[in-house]
Symmetry: C3
Subunit: 331 residues, 3 copies
Amino acid sequence: MPIDPRFYRPQGALDTAELASRLGLDAAGLPEVSVTSLGSLDSALPGDLCFFDGSIKAWSDHQREGTVCLVREDQDWSNVQADGHIQVADPRVSYFQIADDWVTDERHENAPPIIHPDAEIADSAVISNGAAIGAGARIEPFVYVGPGVQIGKGTKIGSHTSIRFSLIGDGVKILAGARLGEDGFGLIPGEGHLKDLPHFGRVILQDGVTLGANCSVDRGLLGDTILGEHTKIDNQCHIGHNTVVGRNVIIVAYGGISGSVEIGDNAQLGGRVGVADHVTIGEGARIAAGSGLRRDVPAGETWGGYPATPISDWHREVVWLKKQAKRKAAK
Amino acid sequence: MPIDPRFYRPQGALDTAELASRLGLDAAGLPEVSVTSLGSLDSALPGDLCFFDGSIKAWSDHQREGTVCLVREDQDWSNVQADGHIQVADPRVSYFQIADDWVTDERHENAPPIIHPDAEIADSAVISNGAAIGAGARIEPFVYVGPGVQIGKGTKIGSHTSIRFSLIGDGVKILAGARLGEDGFGLIPGEGHLKDLPHFGRVILQDGVTLGANCSVDRGLLGDTILGEHTKIDNQCHIGHNTVVGRNVIIVAYGGISGSVEIGDNAQLGGRVGVADHVTIGEGARIAAGSGLRRDVPAGETWGGYPATPISDWHREVVWLKKQAKRKAAK
Amino acid sequence: MPIDPRFYRPQGALDTAELASRLGLDAAGLPEVSVTSLGSLDSALPGDLCFFDGSIKAWSDHQREGTVCLVREDQDWSNVQADGHIQVADPRVSYFQIADDWVTDERHENAPPIIHPDAEIADSAVISNGAAIGAGARIEPFVYVGPGVQIGKGTKIGSHTSIRFSLIGDGVKILAGARLGEDGFGLIPGEGHLKDLPHFGRVILQDGVTLGANCSVDRGLLGDTILGEHTKIDNQCHIGHNTVVGRNVIIVAYGGISGSVEIGDNAQLGGRVGVADHVTIGEGARIAAGSGLRRDVPAGETWGGYPATPISDWHREVVWLKKQAKRKAAK
């Protein structure tokens, strides 16, 4: 899937000569290609530029017809049938360098926002071009709705909220001061120092979601950050880029979900639960307040502690330690 | 005490026929009543609609003359003298369904705000109808003051702050980006999915309170969320609905206080202390930074740890564990 | 170094008579002095008022020609050659009482901001007098830039951000809803209750810093709070007053750094790390997510846990406790 044209605009197509020039390569050795958008490897379509920085052994699953893929030059690709490969030293770094120069935010210059006459918009709110606001929506003072953002029917956006690169469903409630669609936290090595990864994804809030005051939901790096239907999130929570939260999930205050996490339907996270990158929490799992989660939690289980373990283990450890330390002190 | 008419407006009185219709009951079996406002059981006045979803054994303390109380139909109320009882399957759910339809936010349509000539209001601030701002108050850019909000003398409201359903005393200082009076985090089962509880309470900040940047203080469900005189709260803290904090209390950054907590005068909470629902912290108690508190703390005690215990126990456990694990490793 | 005149304005000079009057002392016993600004002891220049509330034994290192220093009256200063000493009961309290009355925020009344023609400023942003915005800077909607604030070239300020008492370098990126330059969290005893310490310092963000959404960076009490070049800070972090963070440092979401902390270049703090006041973290040190740090961490070491220890100790303790508690349960 290419990046969403409601939010991003590649500056024309890139042909072989142009790609070679941007990559500092000799065009003579490259395949004849043309790319028109960015994609991530697992969903790239013809015309998308993508990258693969894994081992060649893991490649087969990912082959895509008609895409152009930056791959590692330190591997032998001669036996792989992949017409659109371009070998570079660091595919990830090269990919985002090209993307950063080539793709700009779509500003919808001549397309004023479309606001349903039944929507209630505070005078001080700023609704950008290309945005659309549904019937019965209510937008409070000092809300900023960025270019191309879609807001569904009956959705209420609290004061001082900012919404960019986002698709918001019907009957959603966002409390004051929430931040949707900001850049995620990703870094690449730059010229002797850290550099931010540019982001080209979206935030999607499905119908009936509630998001608390002063929360932040970062947009995906290439794909989407998603909150499923009727999921309820308390104040001061943070949802990292590319995280996918299921339906009817509860996340209590200060829940801090890192990037690329998956949380199943009906899961419940107590206050101040931290979840590391790429962790999966199964359907209906429950995580005790204050836990720090670094491993996957199977569906239906209850975990707790720092680092988190199945809750019976944690309770046993807490009780046993208390008893032992007390006995020692009594001697 | 009925809900505050400065913030909420019931849409006319509800008589027996109307209540029966909204509850899906037969009016014939119901007492002749009329309600004009909402109240919580422990402070309801005549004309208030309230609910009681506890066991009938706990009822006697709560009886109120002239109120109408939704109670559980799975108990035998025949021996209880309570003229205004209406039996329903789930009193809590029925109560908030009626309330949500019946009571709307008071917008003070024809009452421009009253601003003292000595108050300093930034041009970009939005002060709603029905609000009042005292002498010497200072309201910074992009502040939103909701309908009916009262702000005392010499109080300073930092930029980008939102204040709704709140009464703010004299000499209060609120730093930038704080959120006062948003909905608390309460859920009821809906039609196959989670639903938010509507809130009808207030936030009260007494004289001399300081509230840090990007904090959130949710309003009460029916009663008040209160910060007592000269209580000082650092940045990024969250105070849940119906929590009552005493005077001269210190809460350091990221303090996360759940709903219906009570904190006594002069208590001190270190950074990142989490407190579970309905916990009581006694006067002058001290809680170490990073603690997770699930039990009541007696006045004057010092607690720490996750989960928190008296601090001498915690220190003993930390030291003992360190020694044992090191000894084992040395073998 | 006196306080920065871009942000603060002492109301005229204070001579001996005026100081005596404000301190409630007899001018006859005081040295002939005149002060024109505030300074902190370790960098005060002639004409600065400073204070020293330590023991006289620690004094020698701090002597400054031409400064006026409030010192403790419960010590014998007769053998100390220090012309500008004034003895008071509580130097710290007296100092900030004088400062609070004497020094006001500089508003640059007749100096409209200087905005480079190539800067892109949203219509709704408020840029105060005395501020300067560099070429290629981008200021999003609802940003508040306070009096005297400097913003460098190519710097991007996200929507709803507030920036006061701050100097922001080139190529900085601040995401939406960040709070820079608010008062730090410092308290002194007042008339029977807690009082806030007034702040007279700054925030400095060096070139290439990224600061996440809804972060807060408090200004120094007298000196500066500093984020070094290319340091990258995730969402929802808090940096306390007078903390100095080095270059290329990574602080993941909810990092909570108290006051007067020092963090060396290239250090990395995982998510939700809490650091106590006055702690030093050495160059290249790494702190595991969720840790609570109360002691200094030497350069290059990796620490973790609550309270934090070298990470091998923490892992050993976690593993040993798990094994012991399980064995006991098996009996």
